[in-house]
Assembly symmetry: D4
Homo-oligomer: 252 residues x 8
């Protein structure tokens, strides 16, 4: 149960829609669940503002299902499953109510909330092949409550394609710059923007792109200040931090 | 001339303290200066919210002096020189009015402004040897207009030392987590904080610390969400982005 | 024939259950067997206290069978086969009497002995995906004669999950700390425990986890003293050394 | 204050040599001291069985002095300073009473205790150039209360030199195997010993020894079971863990 | 046509078994053949003492067939095809007369000659998994005209297995030492032998064995003199050089 | 529309074959097309002299089709698709009129123009396995309007095979030197040629060839001057630059 | 003696200024000189169009002097010495007539010729710290007979600084793009230019710039076509190839 | 005492020049000497045919002196000290009778024997900067009893310089090919020679030469068969193995 959910619950108590007893019961559910293969951290939403997210890549469908049911039982209203392949999604029972987003390789249980951040989050990527990472970032940001501006295939080989988005760059509160190969997009955006830029290297490329290492190193050495970096292909992590930045005024 | 300086100038025009002509002249000065060895970017303050900062490491004292004088001439009121060794500082002329901060290896011309961010920036480091990077980050953040909370030598080998700062972690709007060796501090803070965490790996360690690469890799793979990373020993870059995050409400 | 087996044999001679002639014959069998593709080392149990273990990963089912039969013929009562895939297990003849443990990817011939070490061995892992390595370690330790405490999915992103095991950490004689990604679990346990900690990096992660190299480097640079490290995913090796430590009082 | 020191204190109270009040005062001193540049962890001795050790490499003489005085004030009777260069040692005030061991690059305040472990710790190194690491390990083990057997320059190029130490290998409770270059010593000892072996790669070599990385990788891949590894040149860390193993029976 | 074949041809001319005209014709055939996809170097046998060998790994069956037929046409009596998978072998036409050696992954056209070197070549490998490389080396050496002594699975974890071959080590003129993992076998043999040792790292291992890189680095840093190294898994190359060494007296 | 196409169009207007209105319409089409997944850069031909080329490796057939149709609609007369697997080619609709070149892994729409460069471009490769890269380079160069000389399988192990091409080396205006393994071909050609040499490392080899990294490093360190390097297996990129060099006189 | 020098000599013969005998003698001098420590290649000028250049970095002053005198004796009229430190320059005898260029770390004997290439060579660098490499490139290009356009400190963090040079980019026949850190300048210029771009990574940066490796990898993965790369800091090599490109029309 | 020395001693006994008692005494001296910091292996000469050689790089002058005196006392008539800097040489006492060879960085005690191998050893190096490694190899080979042919600065950038040595290549029994940078010399010689080639990569170069790693990798991937490799800059090791090869007929 994250802070928004807890607040909603308490408002519904205030509005008489939920009895204090039921609310208490829901909040009491909010503890650690030990599933043997997983120790589900129901406190994370209260502690960090965002409920635990399921990283689907190295989990079996049975494990994913178990964790989902544990979260549902604890009252978590929005559940994200990242790196969920279509094969695994098909093995999950329908009654979980998962909506599958193929481009983003994500499954979502529950309804995406209205944006409530300070402003838009821009998601820019250099090439067509960066799309899965870009969509993971964009959908995560939306699911956490952010307006998202998408600008795809705007790499520096044709830099006028990026400049066409100058207004978006100026309007964004955070920009997620996604690129493989030499990753120059992050530096160029970093030199244009006045808001924080989070760079995501992707594993796009061949030979000396080394599965994204070159883009990563390039982004870590950006000559533009104000650029920080996350792991290769980690669209989720970038969106998570963008969300925190876009809601930094809400924290206290 | 950054946005604060430009605003001040315009307020002083409004208050009759500066004539419109002098203001225009000052603003006109705000262009690129080509020094041969450097093309000083006077627009950066307007474009990105923070004026250009001088990276002193690979510049000669004569080059640093030249760039300082060009910035002074263009009306920049606060000038930061990072990675300025004591030797280089001593070769710079006194009339530049540089205050030297040995711990942070930084020189500053002008007066540090009052904090005007959304809240405090916390600077935490794991060990005594991380101090130069921590001070570079802390002083930069202060110079850009942020309140700073310092928590030094709080590495995870004695994790109670970190937990003693739980209130600071809760109060901070951004946390800069600095560590060498295995860099675990970033993950542990990342799991406790509800605000964005910027991790700075340091070159502290020996053998397989590989000059900070191990800490960097560790931080990029943080199991806690919401952690982004900058280059090894890049205290300045982390503080710069922390400043942007702490002022993200001010952008528009 | 390891020392326990030899001792049992001698006790059975003393008890009149085995004739001295048969015992001598069994001990004589305890030599090197040259199978062409393998030189089985029957002395290892006497020399090092633990009989030879079969590393199944790069051996054919026929080779594994041959080595098993050679060991059985030499009187080895407990045979471990590590990294045994289910496919290979199915190709092995039933009369070998192998019990297959899928979680641990291990096959065992014979009966697991009662624990006879100084105290419990704790096996802790950071995430759900580390389970195969954790189970390889736990089952190996049990098979060699150790009580095992399991604590799974207790990574530092929710550090209260680890602290819930503080009593186990205090009670253990050796702790095996298993983690992928940034491997911070080893440092945090290393800072809490007063017994030796053996860290096992796992290949869990993506991008810059580099198949476990990041966790390995992190663990080698642990800021906590008393942590040593084995190869990536080497749950067996960690359990083997944990067993030696837990029986160090028995050596002479 | 480590457990031995605390026990001694309590015995002296029992013997009437110390008043309960003075003992309480000494124990109360046993808290964290914040020196600004360092947060000295006086609890470590109680928590982990060994008091905090000063890693001298990246600390200034003034910082080392400050930490020493803080430990002395807190009643710590034995203080180790590792990686202490002769230059730094000479800058430290004489009244601290540091004994300097040049071979081991260590300074010691206080008296080395009588050995009280289960048996001897063997320190073996492959070549003459490994001596500084070997002595750091040997002296640390002695200072923590262990009998030490030294076997130096016994590398595998003349393997009879190692076999001459077969009795020592059989008698040791733990063996620290130290080697640079190809690090084969660890595997050969690992195949001969029945006790735990801790391998320490050294930075000895040139070209593709890569400052110890080759020896490290070699040791991590030892074909002999029961070998774990610490960071390059980390003689201290190996001795620390050897001490824990040699005292594992004492823990509870 | 290599030197042996040319010599045989000339002896048969001398013996009247071949007309000078036919011999000339055969020798004339001995030129470069351009197949479009390959420029077959028929001079190599004369220039370097060994005819060209076909590296089968990255060639199509059609290309292999074409090169074989070109060599047959040019009078080459013994043709080796290395890294020939069983699949590719099956696609090659039977009339080429290839004998397939599965263990060594090699195909051979023609008859293996009697050994004519100065003495035996020893092929030693550390583990069962090194067999394919060891057999590639052994068969190549035999095919080039060398007596071969095989000693397999004699790794240093049970060093008595190697010492059982001390006489072979003394008798050999060249030793090929093959090992994966930490590659210590090369150093130990290098310290025992008085003849040249050629070390072959293999890709056997997991985790930090890095596909043979660790064994390679270990072998390059052998503390024993007189050890040289070839590429990972390059059994052929080691045997080729062993052959040259074993025939060095024949060169002129 | 590249410069040649634009020139042809204008000549056809001058010749009365095209009305000025149709020409304008064709030129107007020459803008950026946003396909969602791709932002096609129709200006590239005018800006850089060569129209945009489709990198097929990481695009779906549907994306490739969409980009092709967008280019056709914009009047681009020659379309290259590189790294187009036969499987993808088969999924593309026939009406696109793609000619598929299997050796070069390329698809081409339109007619290859007559060579109009200053002289021939030589494409040399070291071994049979380098053919796919060599053909990608050769066909690209031809498609851009260059005469190509092919010299395949001329590696330095039989250096007379290269010297047989001395006249071609002297006649070429640019040489593309392609090699895997140790990549020595580039240095040897670089020492013979008086024209620019572009080196292409290939991923041919095994073990320490590291997928082409060894050849790349070798080529970057060529002891011959005048050699520059492109990414591993990047035959297209080498041919592209060779084309620019061969047409450098045409630029203005 | 390079081709220009040989041509001049022959013209002077034609003009009666030199006797055929003296010309022949000068041409005869044009052979290899074996100095023991060096085999000076006087044929290079004839073979490759540019006389041999002295790489001063790892040569002693005595060796440099010897090679210079050998070249002078052979009639070479222009001698370049690259990577010549000021210290070495001062140890060279004055009568050699070396002009020292400190910025470029080069010494030159003889007179720089008039430009005779097809057009200008542009040398662009990203930052002030790239100057030594940029000047090495610029001076080398001038010394070989090229007009040079310099554009320094035009990195992408303030991309308007680069766009101010759009006309130079359009006018250049070859562009040398020099950058350290993330090396993005090469990609951005590569996307704007219609002539060949040679990228030079520099060792400028810290931490993960890895002494220029990051910039190198970035440039090898440029998303813009037509960019090739030389070794880190190899300004000379880039200028050498730029010269060849700019004179490609002259070759035959 | 190596085999030649032992043979000489026995001949002198046979000739009545030495009494059997003195010979026995000399042979008895031939045991291991334990100097504390070193365990001198006097058996190596008998076991491996070459007496122990002192690697001077990481030893103090006092240690070198001690080992020398131990060897002299044991009757070793020829002592080599490799990697002996001039500074260390000057600190060694004159009465040891060391002759210092600056080019080779070696000291020698005793008289170099007459060559007694099967033929000459060729030492070829690519550039002037490879001289120290080449001389270490050449002098070592001579000191062990081999005729040496030197061919220096014959790198492939001017390949005619190498071809001028074709007769030497044909005459040599072993060739040591030494090169830094891209190390192509080894492949080219490997393709020309019919005897074994030992390649020595050197640390000559800059940037991506990575201190010799590029040359090493290049040599390991030589497209010519019959090339084996030793560690970077290991001229001694190459000469040692060349000596073994050149004396392989003498072994038994």
């Amino acid at each position: 149960m994250d802070m928004r959910e807890a607040n909603e619950l308490l408002h519904r108590v205030a509005a008489g829609e939920v009895t204090p007893e039921d609310a208490a019961s829901a909040l009491r559910a909010d503890t650690v669940t030990d599933l043997g293969y997983a120790t589900v951290d129901h406190q994370r939403g209260m502690r960090q503002g965002v409920s635990e997210v399921i990283f689907g890549m190295s989990k079996t469908p049975a494990q994913i299902e178990g964790i989902c049911r544990s979260m549902i039982a604890a009252g978590q209203s929005l559940i994200l499953i990242t790196r969920l392949s279509q094969e695994k999604f098909r093995e999950l029972p329908e009654d979980l109510g998962i909506t599958y987003h193929e481009d983003a390789r994500m499954g979502i249980i529950g309804t995406i909330p209205e944006p409530d951040g300070m402003g838009p989050v821009m998601v820019a990527c250099a090439g067509t092949s960066d799309l899965p990472v870009a969509e993971e970032a964009a959908l995560t940001a939306e699911a956490l409550g952010n307006e998202v501006i998408r600008a795809y295939d705007v790499g520096v080989a044709g830099i006028h394609r990026l400049f066409a988005h100058a207004d978006d760059i100026a309007r964004a509160r955070v920009i997620i710059a996604i690129a493989g190969m030499e990753g120059a997009l992050a530096s160029v955006i970093g030199g244009m923007a006045s808001c924080p830029v989070i760079a995501v290297p992707t594993s796009v490329g061949y030979g000396t792109s080394f599965g994204g290492v070159t883009a990563l190193l390039s982004m870590l050495n950006s000559c533009a200040s104000g650029v920080s970096v996350v792991n290769i292909d980690n669209g989720f992590g970038a969106a998570y931090q963008a969300h925190l930045i876009n809601h930094v005024a809400n924290f206290h």
